[in-house]
Amino acid sequence: MKKDNLKQFYKEFPSNPDARVKALKSILEKEGLIDQKALDEILDTYQNKVGPLNGAKIVAKAWANKKFKEDLINNTDQVLKDMDLNGRQGEHVVVVENTETVHNLIVCTLCSCYPWPLLGLPPSWYKSDAYRSRAVREPREVLNDFNVKLPISKKVKVWDSTSEIRYLVLPQQPPTSKGLSENELVSWVTRDSMIGTGFPKPPLGE
């Protein structure tokens, strides 16, 4: 059987991560392999432009519009493309709907796959060893840590993102929000409700 001899070059670098990045960057700069403006633009994109508001808009629209919801679930990638919400780490998306009998929960046990164009970068707990190891084995205990309690009548369905398919939970619309406009509904949709570790809730101040 063949071997892959990827070597551990990182050990030759300073162990302090701050010093390690500086050492790496100076090599890359010397070789002319990076453009600082490009790096700034990448950071600006994920710090300021892409975030859970994108996902919230889709969920609110699905709550307000039955036809859109059907399209979103059955023809997800095309719908996201039409809304300009596709992109890196959201090339292939599956929307899973919470119902009276099913509660969906998303995890990536092998790394930290997450639908970036819809939710932005993952929160630190999503990347933690505890979440990655426990979510598939004891999802209800994990939900307890988020103060989410599920009735015994609901089945928990955990989605482990092992391929390039990214998952988004379509939470149930809270009964008290019925009749609100799509725009008003956006602020009810929390990031955690689209991962399955929370529920939608009224915006602060209401």
Binding site: F9, L28, L33, G120
Partner: protein
């Protein structure tokens, strides 16, 4: 034994720390690592599967002790090393050819991030399993071509039995692509497992876990 990164189902009693969950970066160096990793990922010297393999292949004790972006940083250095951009003390030869390196320019960032890297391929490869069919997962989850190679078949489902609930077409096969053995697209399915078939102690008999698995990870149920 499962590799350090293959965490699904591992015994862990730590609570999930939901404080500061909106903090994207804990320090400036993390921002640098994030941006460098994405920018250099467009260099065309490696692919996403290779970069996952590079992170997974860190010394196990480092994988478990490093923070998230420390793993990214060490993985990135190893990738640059194998391409000759960072030189090993033992290497005298200059194997890096700058002409093959694509420097990411600011004007292309938006377009490239938007494009991403779709893995679905038009080629329709052999598809041996149907929706609703009961299937078995291979008993051994090692890469079949490369010793200790990359795979996306988690340890906790090997040898288990589940049901096909979705077919996603043909997708790039990570076990091959991570080692530059070609994209080798294969049929990709979502397989639903009953929690009680996976864990000695299961919380609820109705609960299930869905895992995306490629054709060659699966076998006919006997």
């Amino acid at each position: 034994m499962a590799k350090a990164h293959d965490m699904g189902g591992r015994f862990d009693t730590r609570r999930i720390d939901i404080t500061s969950s909106d903090v994207k970066f804990k320090a400036d160096w993390e921002k640098e690592v994030f941006a460098l990793t994405l920018a250099l990922g467009f260099s065309s010297l490696w692919n996403l599967d290779r970069s996952r393999y590079a992170r997974e292949s860190l010394e196990p004790k480092d994988y478990l002790q490093f923070g998230y972006y420390e793993k990214w940083l060490a993985g990135l250095i190893n990738l640059l090393g194998e391409n000759g951009i960072i030189k090993d003390r033992t290497e005298s030869e200059d194997k890096f050819k700058k002409s093959s390196f694509r420097v990411l320019e600011a004007k292309n960032v938006k377009k490239l991030l938007h494009m991403g890297g779709p893995t679905k391929r038009d080629s329709t490869t052999e598809k041996n399993f149907n929706l609703g069919e009961t299937v078995s997962v291979r008993a051994n989850n090692s890469n079949t071509k490369i010793e200790k190679g990359h795979t996306r078949l988690p340890d906790y489902v090997k040898g288990r039995t589940g049901k096909v609930i979705a077919y996603h077409g043909s997708h790039v096969f990570p076990d091959a692509n991570a080692h530059f053995l070609g994209e080798s697209p294969e049929a990709l399915y979502s397989i639903e497992f009953k929690s009680q078939d996976l864990w000695a102690k299961c919380e609820h008999v109705e609960d299930t876990v869905v895992v995306d698995l490629w054709e060659s990870y699966l076998e006919k149920f006997k």
